[in-house]
């Protein structure tokens, strides 16, 4: 049995404490960076962290920031994000971040402290039912009651987080378990009879899909976050270019296919482009890859189902297939593997499809594109938020890591920053968590030292995790915060204008801080920009500063709305366009 060791005792067989085992497991998994916040239940783990330097710890200022930072770290690289929080309030503070990662299927391991095993269930100090509270918002969780199970549990946690459809996995470790000792052996593999995700797509189904795609007269390729998560942008680009078909991305899939490519129709969905939504509705063969037919994308399901189309759906999660929209050819498997197999089958078949019909389809699409649905008033004397994003794109040459908070600014960033590469666009799509942007930018910066990282945000969102400005100072993170400040909760105000008779209930941001003074208070540089002609110079100046965080406060047009917009409950072709208002 593992009892606490007396200091100075010598043993023939080396035994490690639970805390040492946690750190050794992280080292074995190649974890370089852990985001966390100490507390009573994790003190022994922090002690062991202190004694080594293979795993680096980043101290945040709120556990929500730790979870978002680990999340952003993972999204901007292909590594697992790891965060470490204490029991009770540490866990509950992190829940928002965990749920954010869960909704977007991000591989993350959360290590949480827990009160000692003998105190569980007795309403101890800083106790909460961590496993119970996080159960609905993690892929899986564990409570380690015996130190001898700890290493295997950590191995399982990393395995579950990174295989199949990725997701956050939480390991809850009681404080006494971190002091108990046992022999340490990190398992090379872990087999679970109850967990064996399908990786290879069924070859028969793939063959059917290839056949159907070649018969298409009005084909459409619809891709989402699954392409990013499985690093499939190269085979995707090959497939789309071989076929010459139009391609669209969801919010989570931006960067999966190069946005500057002529075959890219822009993002689709509630705030997608006119041409992408029209093509999605009127296609006759739809190839859905790593996307889940979310309600933001298909609008009114009845309206979507009115057009006869055949749907091929490639996804690693069988429960995503035919969940909202019935599909004709489901293919369960890892997106990259399935695409590579499809490419093999398409080899030598380029130009075999109905080229005449395809040409006519493209003519129709170009007619839709000609509507120029993203245009805005460029003659305005007030700064237009779209203009700021366009300039941001130019100044960073489209190569920055761009994180975002939630709201109008997020939609404009998605529409106007053209992402040619995956893992550059980092935002909370599924849960839509305000406060995500700044800590995620920290994570992205740690994952890519020296890279340019921009956080596009609004004055409402940035205040939710503002305390992380201190973390940025401590670790000298030269993030550039692009604050589109319209003194309103923009997206809420837009809905209130369109659907609630301009009754702006609680969407005005009163008592805003002086953001420049605030940034300076945290030791950073702040810049207020009020005129359109100052936008580009301010951006150029900020991004030239490679070792400073710069908070750019852009005072933008309060009346600007995001177009196109598919109102809730309407079909995706029933978009409101800018010209109509």
């Amino acid at each position: 049995m593992g009892a606490a060791m007396e200091p100075g005792t010598k043993l023939a067989v080396p035994e490690l404490t639970g805390a040492e085992i946690v750190i050794r497991c992280l080292q074995e998994e190649g974890v370089e960076c852990v985001f966390g916040y100490p507390g009573g239940a994790v003190l022994f783990i922090y002690d062991e962290l202190f004694k080594q330097d293979k795993v680096r710890h980043v101290l945040v200022r709120h556990e929500q920031g730790a979870a978002h930072a680990a999340d952003g770290y993972s999204r901007a690289s292909d590594r697992v994000g790891v965060c470490l929080v204490t029991s009770g309030p540490g866990v509950t503070n992190a829940v928002t971040g965990i749920a954010t990662a869960y909704m977007d299927s991000i591989p993350m391991v959360i290590i949480s402290g827990q009160v000692p095993t003998h105190a569980i269930g007795l309403d101890a100090f800083q106790e909460c039912d961590t496993v119970g509270i996080t159960r609905p918002c993690v892929k899986h969780n564990f409570l380690v009651k015996d130190v001898r199970d700890l290493a295997a549990t950590m191995k399982k946690a990393f395995h579950i987080a990174t295989t199949g459809r990725p997701g956050p996995v939480l390991v809850d470790i009681p404080k006494d378990v971190t002091t108990h000792t046992c022999r340490f052996e990190y398992p090379a593999t872990v087999g679970m009879r109850s967990y064996n995700p399908t990786v290879k797509g069924h070859p028969g189904q793939i063959k059917k899909a290839v056949q159907l795609l070649l018969e298409a007269k009005r084909p459409m390729v619809y891709t989402g976050g699954g392409v990013i998560l499985s690093d499939a942008s190269a085979p995707l680009a090959r497939l789309v270019r071989t076929l010459g078909y139009p391609c669209t991305n969801t919010l989570m899939g931006l960067g999966g296919y190069p946005a500057t490519d002529r075959q890219f129709l822009g993002m689709l969905g509630m705030h997608g482009t006119y041409e992408a939504n029209m093509a999605m509705q009127h296609c006759d063969v739809l190839l859905a890859i790593g996307a889940r037919f979310d309600d933001r994308v298909i609008g009114n399901p009845k309206h979507f189902g009115e057009v006869q189309r055949r749907i091929i759906h490639v996804d690693i999660d069988p429960s995503s297939i035919s969940k909202r929209v019935k599909v004709d050819i489901p293919i369960v498997g890892n997106v990259r593997e399935v695409l590579e197999e499809m490419n093999r089958q398409f080899d030598g078949q380029a130009g075999k499809g109905d080229q005449k019909a395809l040409a006519a389809w493209w003519t129709q699409i170009e007619a839709w594109r000609a509507k120029d649905c993203l245009r805005y008033d460029r003659s305005s004397k007030v700064i237009k938020p779209q203009f700021v994003i366009e300039k941001l794109y130019e100044v960073t040459k489209g190569e920055a890591f761009v994180t975002s908070d939630v709201g109008q600014h997020q939609m404009w960033a998605a529409q106007f920053y053209k992402f040619d590469r995956p893992r550059r666009w980092i935002n909370s799509g599924g849960l839509g968590t305000m406060g995500f942007g700044l800590p995620a930018a920290m994570g992205a910066q740690f994952a890519n030292p020296g890279a340019t990282v921009a956080c596009v945000t609004g004055e409402s969102s940035i205040q939710m995790c503002l305390q992380e400005l201190s973390t940025c100072k401590q670790y000298r993170l030269p993030i550039k915060i692009v604050n589109l400040n319209n003194r309103y909760m923009g997206m809420v105000r837009q809905w209130q204008e369109f659907f609630h008779g301009n009754r702006y209930a609680e969407s005005y941001m009163d008592a805003l801080p002086d953001f420049v003074k605030l940034a300076e208070g945290y030791g950073h540089r702040g810049t207020l920009v009020e005129r359109p002609e100052d936008v580009e110079p301010a951006l150029r100046d900020a991004f030239a500063r490679k070792s400073e965080l710069v908070f750019l406060d852009f005072v933008t047009d309060q009346t600007e709305n995001v177009f196109p917009m598919v109102p809730g409950g309407k079909g995706i072709t029933e978009m409101i366009l800018a010209e109509e208002l």
């Binding site: 159960r135 609905p136 579950i160 109850s194 069988p318 969940k323």
Partner: protein, 185 residues
């Protein structure tokens, strides 16, 4: 946006009436016998708004595995989603919808009834007719054990005089496939 809502005044826990095409399914699940596994399944059903008519679970001959039987009502689409979501759970080893093929369903009920005076003879006859067994006897009560399909147990309750029923406790249905099909890890 278009979520179904209960009629005003209805209990917030009342589920909306089952849509047309909803059928009763009996789903058998093999899962790792680990603490929290039951909570995960129950949590899944409640979080996604699936209906649980009854749920029963116990270890199998392999102590590391539990077998759970859930009776649920839903359309084919809903049952398909339920099955897929259950398979997603890490501890779930296998899921089978027994309703898809010939199967045997059994449930146990213990029922305490008032049996006084001339009713005692009648109550014993009822128990015999339904092949129940009387496990406990007092001057005023019988406690009867009854096994069978859910509808047989329902029929027994219908057949009795309502005022005679003092207390009932049911286990919920368990099921097993007919023939050579087995549910194993």
């Amino acid at each position: 946006m278009n979520a179904p809502t209960s009629p005003p005044g209805a209990s917030p826990y009342a589920l909306p009436a089952a849509p047309a095409g909803a059928m009763r399914h009996i789903i058998s699940i093999l899962l790792e016998n680990e603490s929290g596994a039951l909570s995960r399944v129950a949590g899944l059903f409640s979080a996604r708004g699936y209906n649980i008519e009854s749920l029963t679970v116990a270890p199998t001959e392999d102590a590391s595995l539990s077998r759970m039987t859930i009776v649920t009502v839903g359309s084919d689409d809903v049952i398909e989603q339920i099955t897929k979501q259950l398979n997603k759970l890490i501890e779930v080893v296998k899921v089978v919808d027994l309703s898809e093929a010939p199967h045997i369903e059994r449930e146990l009920m213990l029922i305490k009834v008032r049996a006084t005076g001339k009713d005692r003879e009648e109550m014993k006859r009822m128990a015999d007719i339904f092949r129940g067994r009387i496990l406990d006897v007092t001057e005023t009560t019988y406690t009867i054990e009854l096994t069978g399909t859910g509808s047989k147990l329902d029929a027994f309750l219908e057949a009795l005089d309502k005022t005679a029923i003092l207390e009932t406790v049911r286990t919920g249905a368990s099921g097993i496939a007919r023939g050579e099909r087995v549910l194993r890890a």
